[in-house]
């Protein structure tokens, strides 16, 4: 019984976290946009516009339930659910702190990759179900982009996995700190198992993993359909892309899914490349900074704060760079990211055989 209760409480907790994060992130996004464009952002609702997003969500919930008369009703209604659920299930294997995760499975990373690809089906459903040419065009663009960018994401993850030798996200994060069961080398020559901190993170364990992380970051940005990769919902060309016809609570779910996806890819990058719950502070001689800042509470703090930092960078990128043209997008993916990722994968194999013995 207690087990069953836990199975109900955990998803609700994660959902509440996602909802809270979305409220916070939309506000942050507007403020960052304002800062980048040299204006103030929301200021009217509440002090510094703090309750602006709450007002927005109240407006969305109150709105009428509109279904276009020519739409394919069943597909139109299920699409937002599928899109959100696909991202939501991805959270089921993400570790937040040492041994503090919903499901500890050996296939964690592979599972996330597979389940997030369902997102694309939801987008196609939305685009087709709306029966609107802009929606369909947006959906087709979205799929072309997501299917292409899944390859660099997969390759960059494989490069990291060849070093870690496990797909279990809990173990992957464990391999980057002072409690690691294996010896950690900084750049392959300096034993930092006792020092931990920043030096034990995967991006510093091998020099090419830094490049791999950059590839991962760019490709996941495209997976989230965010600027500069937002051609699926390019406002100036396609009105709203695949979610043109959506309004009210259904649009709220699509919005929630987008922000949940942003946080999911950020936390995934943090766990695999940036040390997961491990502290960035190293042990310096008798100053045991890493020992002091490791534990359940600290783990939670580090994971969330690192992920929020990455989300912040995603927003910064969005408001700084202009949108890519469709052909530039494909060129970047197929002619730059994929070949570089392949080279990194080969280096990973050699690194595993020659450097880590």
């Amino acid at each position: 019984m207690a087990d069953l209760l836990l199975h109900i409480i955990i998803p609700i907790a994660i959902f509440l976290f996602i909802a809270g994060f979305t409220l916070f992130a939309v506000y942050a996004e507007r403020k960052i946009a304002g800062f980048v464009q040299d204006r103030l952002g929301p200021m009217e609702t509440g002090k510094y516009g703090l309750i602006q997003t709450i007002a927005d969500i109240l407006k969305l919930i109150q709105k009428e339930f509109i279904t276009p008369s020519a739409a394919d009703k069943a597909l139109f209604l299920t699409a937002p659910v599928i899109i959100f659920v696909a991202v939501f299930i991805g959270y089921s294997v993400v570790p937040w702190a040492p041994d503090f995760l919903p499901t500890n499975t050996n296939t964690g990373l592979f599972f996330i990759l597979a389940i997030v690809s369902i997102d694309a089906i939801g987008i196609l459903m939305a685009g087709w179900g709306s029966n609107n040419k802009y929606s369909l065009l947006g959906a087709i663009r979205a799929i072309a982009q997501m299917v292409s960018y899944e390859i660099p994401v997969g390759l960059s993850l494989i490069s990291a996995i060849m070093i870690t030798q496990t797909l279990n996200l809990n173990e992957i994060a464990d391999l980057q700190g002072i409690h690691s069961p294996e010896i950690i080398y900084f750049m392959g020559f300096w034993d930092v198992t006792d020092i931990g901190g920043l030096f034990a993170w995967h991006i510093f364990q091998a020099p090419h993993l830094l490049v791999v992380y950059i590839i991962f970051f760019i490709a996941t940005l495209a997976e989230c359909n965010r600027a500069p990769f937002d051609i699926p919902e390019a406002e100036s060309e396609l009105i709203g892309g695949f979610h043109t016809e959506y309004g009210g609570i259904k649009f709220a779910f699509l919005f929630l899914a987008e922000y949940a996806m942003m946080f999911l890819v950020s936390i995934l990058g943090v766990i695999i490349f940036l040390g997961g719950w491990n502290t960035p502070l190293p042990n310096i001689g008798s100053l045991r900074l890493a020992d002091w800042t490791t534990g359940l509470g600290w783990g939670l703090f580090w994971t969330v704060s690192k992920s929020l930092l990455i989300v912040g960078i995603q927003m910064w990128v969005r408001w700084t760079l202009p949108r890519f043209r469709a052909d530039q997008l494909m060129t970047l993916c197929w002619k730059i990211l994929i070949p570089v990722a392949f080279v990194c994968m080969a280096i990973s194999g050699l690194w595993r055989i020659l450097v880590i013995v």
């Binding site: 394919d72 069943a74 597909l75 499975t105 050996n106 296939t107 592979f110 599972f111 990759l113 597979a114 389940i115 690809s117 369902i118 694309a120 089906i121 196609l124 459903m125 087709w128 369909l136 959906a139 087709i140 799929i143 299917v147 899944e150 797909l167």
Partner: protein, 180 residues
């Protein structure tokens, strides 16, 4: 609990599969196919084949099905209308072909039914005695990797070369210019 889930997935798979072949609307049929594949992945989990289940979702749902829907959306309306106006028969094949197909399926099912016994098969009892049973918590992916690189290395390499050939062929066909 597990039994209920198993039957739920099985019912879902069968119902959705029946709907896929019966429904008039091709777009909906394709999206229902997604339900079939997903339910099948759920069934694989009960066979402790978690790797197969996830690969099923990744390859079929994330790849093949999306390509199918993509092709469907890019094809022209007359072709689709033609597809949707086919005869209302259950399987639109000539009689002798459908009879042959159904007989073949029937024989497979009968064969499986006769082979099935109520009690646990001998080889399962044998491996339970020897302690070589796979547990749900085992690292199946690691075992799979070792097997692919040792015992099954030749088939594995043959398949990769085959996939490579398909990839090169696809790239060649989609190339603009004189030689196609």
């Amino acid at each position: 609990m597990e039994e209920i889930l198993f039957y739920a997935f099985a019912t879902l798979a069968i119902t959705a599969a029946l709907l896929v072949v019966n429904i008039r609307n091709t777009a909906r049929a394709l999206f229902l196919f997604f339900v079939v594949l997903f339910a099948m992945a759920g069934l694989y989990l009960f066979a402790l084949a978690d790797f197969v289940a996830i690969t099923q979702i990744l390859v079929y749902v994330g790849g093949v099905l999306i390509l199918l829907i993509f092709a469907f959306m890019l094809s022209n309306k007359e072709l689709l209308a033609d597809l949707q106006n086919t005869s209302r028969k259950f399987i639109s094949l000539p009689n002798w072909q459908s009879a042959l197909l159904s007989l073949a399926f029937l024989s497979v099912m009968l064969y499986a039914f006769w082979g099935w016994k109520q009690h646990t098969p001998d080889w399962i009892i044998e491996s339970q005695r020897q302690g070589t049973v796979i547990q749900a918590t085992d690292n199946n992916i690691g075992t799979l990797g070792f097997k692919f690189m040792t015992q099954y290395v030749l088939p594995f390499e043959v398949i990769s070369i085959f996939l490579m050939m398909a990839l090169i062929g696809a790239a060649h066909l989609s190339r603009k210019g004189d030689s196609v």
